[in-house]
Amino acid sequence: MAILLSRRSNLLAVVVLLLCQLFLYATVSSSGSVLKQGGGEEFSEELLLKPFPDRKVLAHFHFQSRAPHSSSHGRHHHLFPKAIAQLVKKFRVKEMELSFTQGRWRYEQWGGFDPLSSNNAKPPGVELWAVFDVPQSLVDVYWRNLTHTLSGLFCASINFLESSTTYSAPELTFKPSFGNLRYGTLPREAVCTENLTPWLKLLPCRDKAGLSALMDRPSIYRGFYHSQRLRLTSSESGSDEVDSGIGLDQTLTVVLQPSSWRTGKTYSVETNIQPSWSISSIFGRNIPGKCVIAKSSNVYLQLDNGLVGELKNLERENAKYVANTFESEGFQSNHAFKISVTPDKVFEEVDNLHGKSTSVIYGFSVEKYSDSQPFDLGLTWKIPVVWSCQQAPLHASRFLMGSGNERGAIAISLEPTESSEGLPTSHIIDGRCELRVDIFQVVPWYIKVYFHTLQVFVDKQPRAMADVVDKIRVSPSKDKVSPGVMEMILKLPCGSKSAAFSLEFDKGFLHIDEYPPDANQGFDIPSALISFPSFNARMNFSEDEFLNNSPILSKFQETSPVLSYTEVLLIPLTTPDFSMPYNVITITCTVFALYFGSLLNVLRRRVDEEERILRSRAGHKAGWISQLLSRLSAKLRGRPQEQPTSSLPHSFISFRLVLKILLVASIAVTWQYYFG
């Protein structure tokens, strides 16, 4: 019986052991296979090139990284940057956009209506806005910690946005966020290589392979405008959206001027022709193949609708070139320009309501290129072409009025542009044709704006506010606590050509340690944001499966309002005399020294003491020289001579003293004589 039991237990033990082994092996192999799959993360990279009418070229890099939600896939990432995933998790960020910009986007020449300008023209300096998924009372705390973390991550002084005088909470002009949105901007932040380095380190291929290998730092920072942007969206796993999880879009927009010496051609005769350029001439490098981990890697060349329309007009004028039309043969040889690489795909915009011509995008895939056969796209112009980019309905600009150190006024003017003539009738509301304009402006607390002085001018005639302003939300500034925020929704009548606003302010005083070291340069008022919600900056393309996978093209198809930023204003404030603290300290110390010195003297010193000391010294006068002298003086004055008591040390001392004086005098004389 005991033997049977022991045998059975042994067998059971062996069976259990074998089962454990099987189970372990199964789990190991399955986890191995999951790791090979990659956990559903994706990365794609794209580059868009676009010539501008003023002889410049736009290069727009777009890197998109998607990671599924962490609860289903753990905290391991193999493509997605862990720093960003941790940031999203720690600060409960729902949406965030951070941009570093240097330069001003020239709306007149570079356009303001297309999705590229709307989304990528940012105010100079740093702009950060974030929506949090926390209760409203905690949003400020999370915002502060987020600014500190971002400043450490991107080597920028974003931590200056932690103080409540720099950020604001807009509600009307951004999408509804129930009070969880915070917006802050630093207009004077310098952007340089140290901001690009950590931005590139978030990419899986860094700047070593793929499209990011093009980023030659001197070429980028030589541009007329460069802006690097980071956009984060995070959605809960509970929602049924297709792309839940974290999405990271990194874009770098650079406007460069192809220099004629690089292409090696001279334009002495035909200076009207746009400069020919290629990727290697503007960046100094070629694309050495794609980043191996990227799902897709494409380069696009966009000819915007103004250019396409102009080319078609030129074709119609030169009837003999009918055989070589732009549409039929288009790509490589054309009467107007030549592209060095045959495009793999051509996309044409459809349904363009805003003009007769549609823009064309040529797509090139970088998959078949490699280090030995790099990709270099070049555009050569054959005839001079002049065109203009489509602009926003109204051109916004902002300036200061008034002079002096006490008061002034801020004025925003909306001027008509050429595209405002053919305004569509799609925004007829309540039978009246109206143009809706949203204005969002933040003014620091030391520029004390008086909102009751807001004046509106339409077509240069003053109007009552109630006629034009539909909604206005104002948060007046509190000294040293919060800035002044103004959000306005205007409804301008369709036939109006221009509009202008003016707002008066008083200049405030700052504490001496609130002044920056270069206080005499002035203080900045950040850019105002003007948006036209009734217009959509989007491009429609014919339905294509490819488009959904391309980050740039799918972004073009998104509905977003037309945005434009005004200039940053520089206001000189009165500066104190910064040497005053030093002066005050010196004067006070002198006064104290004099007062206490004389007080101590008065209290401590006895008046007769000096005379007594002198007399006692005189009593000890000895030495034959001093005796002689005293006798002489006694005789001269006719007084009785005192009897000096002679003591040897004193005479010795005085003798030595006289000798010393003689010695020093002789040395001085010889020194002066020989070296003087």
């Binding site: 450490g152 080597c155 340089c192 290589t193 380095t197 700047d207 730092r217």
Partner: protein, 333 residues
């Protein structure tokens, strides 16, 4: 800590490039530079906070000096200075006694083992005259009453690009190759007062070790370009110029008129002497680990290992089973 934005300044003819020589051969600003404190953040308060480690809770790790009691710290300061002070941003000064107090705090909190302070300003030696913490070595480019001068003017860029003291320091390092074991005393004595137009002064009274025994890599070290070689470490004196290029790249940013404070972070001490005293077990374990590292496809090895383990186990367990079930009871009962 860089107070001014020099590389991407609108006035810089060579954007994103900072040179230290007229020949523009080397771009100091590089492709991977990271600056932790720049612009208005460069203040005496932030500098002292970095040294002493007294930051607010929200300050991220990349902005902290994460040093401990084994760290060697190089502190290089340049700009305008005078008798017992250094200018910050044209509006503040760092006093010598403040620096001495900060270093004393650092020593008490065990934030460094050895600290080298290099100062390249006018009357630089006065800045560290108040130091009294052990383990600190300091060298200044000029003594009290002397000015420090710039080396040469780059007429293309329009400013003087390097100071004399820094220029000769870099010249010393450029002459070294990977296998030289130069000591700090050779560095400190390499400065020629006639060429520098000022007298360098260094104090070693707070430093216990002899300067002849301390190599320069105790404080200076940076990897500019790693070149992967399969061959073993050679002892021949082959000159590999790419590896000794600019060991001071992170700590050297030049301009006579601009402010530059750079507290460069440390090299951990590498005690190679421990290896000699290892017992045979650890030596064998290390050899085993080295062998393991050389195996390339480790996961396939593990998988195969699991597969092999089954029959092995069966083979091992079978005799045990036999013994336990049949043989033992016969012995017992």
């Amino acid at each position: 800590m860089l107070a001014d934005d020099m590389a991407c300044n609108a006035r810089n003819k060579y954007p994103a490039q900072v040179f230290n020589n007229e020949n523009h051969k080397l771009n100091l600003y590089g492709d991977n530079v990271e600056v932790d404190y720049h612009g208005y953040e460069v203040t005496v308060e932030n500098f002292l906070r970095v040294l002493t480690g007294r930051h607010e809770a929200a300050v991220p790790r990349s902005k902290r000096l994460l040093s401990d009691e084994g760290s060697h710290i190089l502190l290089y300061m340049t700009g305008h200075g005078g008798d017992e002070f250094l200018k910050f941003q044209d509006s503040e000064e760092l006093q010598s006694h403040d620096l001495a107090d900060a270093v004393k705090q650092m020593k008490e909190k065990h934030r460094f083992k050895e600290l080298l302070i290099m100062v390249d300003t006018c009357q630089a030696a006065t800045l560290f005259s108040q130091l009294h913490s052990p383990g600190v070595l300091a060298i200044g480019s000029s003594m009290k009453g002397e000015n420090s001068y710039s080396h040469h003017l780059d007429s293309d860029v329009g400013v003087s690009v390097v100071d004399r003291f820094t220029f000769y320091t870099l010249a010393f390092f450029e002459k070294l190759n990977m296998y030289d074991n130069a000591s700090l005393s050779s560095l400190f004595t390499s400065y020629n007062p006639t060429l520098l137009m000022s007298t360098t002064y260094y104090r070693t009274d707070l430093y216990q070790r002899k300067l002849e025994e301390v190599s320069v890599t105790n404080f200076f070290g940076s990897v500019m370009e790693t070149i992967h070689t399969d061959s073993a470490y050679r002892t021949t004196h082959s000159r590999k110029t790419s590896e000794t290029k600019m060991p001071l790249q992170e700590s050297v940013k030049h301009d006579e008129r601009r402010q530059l404070i750079n507290s460069n972070v440390q090299d951990q001490t590498s005690d190679t002497k421990i290896e000699d005293k290892q017992c045979p077990f650890t030596r064998r374990w290390n050899a085993f680990q080295d062998k393991l590292e050389k195996i390339e496809r480790i996961d396939s090895l593990v998988n195969y290992g699991f597969i092999i383990m089954f029959p092995l186990l069966l083979i091992i367990m079978f005799p045990l089973l036999l013994i336990s079930t049949w043989l033992l009871p016969t012995f017992v009962s």
